[in-house]
Point group: C2
Chain length 229, copies 2
């Protein structure tokens, strides 16, 4: 299948590489491909520049948001949460219409320093904002409650643990669940929370997730709903 992965950060790279390893055709989308490829320094989190990753993944093309979204039969949003709506506007509603739009982003706002706050929060969510802005897309919020390495390799965390899906379209959630299974998730560990408004619940896991990462000193953990079945 053809996937567009919007965003060139560590989350986008990790998901793009996993999709390509599974035999999918993958185009990564960015605002300005030339500018993205011209960066030679690690990002603020210490990740190597995109060009380094790209050299190791020559089968994955880098194009504009719009070109990538036009290419993809499904689109994965891995952009920074505060930039997601702008990135998706650049991708273009027509290029998203009718497609499954997998939203992995969290609306983390670092403008007031650490720890980040959520914006929006509580009475809205990024998942809902995206669905409202692109009513023709079938938005499924998922994978946003864990480190990206766990997203594509759940076996990194020993024992059972969960991934949540939120969205209005049950066919889209079924398709996303099949993708999650291909990533290594057991279908019984996928919890369908209901509509896209339930993204409020999963996005609001980030504050404790960030504090747990600080307490535990690593990111190889995940939420398990004990007693769910």
């Amino acid at each position: 299948m053809r996937y567009a992965v919007l965003g060139t950060g560590i989350v986008g790279r990790t998901i793009a590489a996993k999709l390509a390893s599974l035999g999918h055709e993958v185009v990564v989308g960015t605002r300005d491909p030339q500018s993205t490829l011209a960066r030679t320094h690690p990002d603020s989190m210490g990740n190597p520049p995109f060009s380094t990753w790209h050299a190791d993944h020559p089968g994955v093309a880098l194009e504009t948001f719009a070109e990538a979204a036009a290419f993809g039969e499904a689109v994965v949003n891995t952009t920074a949460g505060v930039a997601a709506l702008d990135a998706l506007q650049a991708a273009g509603g027509a290029n998203l219409a009718g497609k499954v739009l997998i939203d992995v982003a969290n609306p983390l706002d670092f403008s007031a320093g650490m720890p980040p706050i959520l914006n929006p929060v509580n009475t809205d969510s990024l998942g809902e904002q995206i669905q409202r802005a692109f009513p023709g897309a079938k938005v499924v919020k998922t994978l946003n409650t864990m480190n990206c390495f766990v997203m594509v390799d759940p076996g990194r965390v020993a024992g059972a643990h969960n991934v949540f899906v939120s969205g209005a379209d049950s066919g889209a959630k079924k398709q996303v669940t099949e993708l999650l299974v291909s990533f290594g998730w057991s279908e019984q560990n996928v919890i369908d929370l209901g509509g896209i408004d339930t993204a409020r619940g999963t996005e609001m896991l980030l504050p404790i997730w960030l504090r747990l990462m600080g307490t535990l000193g690593h990111a190889d953990f995940n939420f398990h709903i004990q007693g769910a079945r």
Copy 2:
């Protein structure tokens, strides 16, 4: 030990009964004991009136917030989140000073209907509000991330699952952890998140908790941080 349990709802009753069963002296605090005892109808959640519970627990006294807090060597806040600061003001800062104040409440605001929102949220928490309002109390936020029957009987949920503690005073957290162990919690399943500001993280678990209860159709579940150790 002498415990004050502030609040006469199902959470307060469940914790008061557990404490009494463990041999502690327990006084439940309410705004107006006569009024609380005079109620003869179930509450809005269908729980029987307090008097019914009280008849089954004659060893637990019902007094005013202030009388209960004065009696307790430690105080447990189980009042409704939106009423908690008022209830604690009625209890009186002098009756809380120097004591461990276990805050089990969540700031769930039902004023805009269901599902409730959190107020405060994100940039503040009820735990922090209480600590600021009563700087002499040693506030420990805990147990607020699960159903009250699980709080006092963690074995209701099969397998390992976690309870969080947040607070500035490590001695108070140690004392609360010992109480949790007496409730049936394994010490290794108690996760110390750090200061009281980390209550933001645990309070923000409520939105997904409420949606999980809806999805699962029961409340006998709990969060387990898989990979924490």
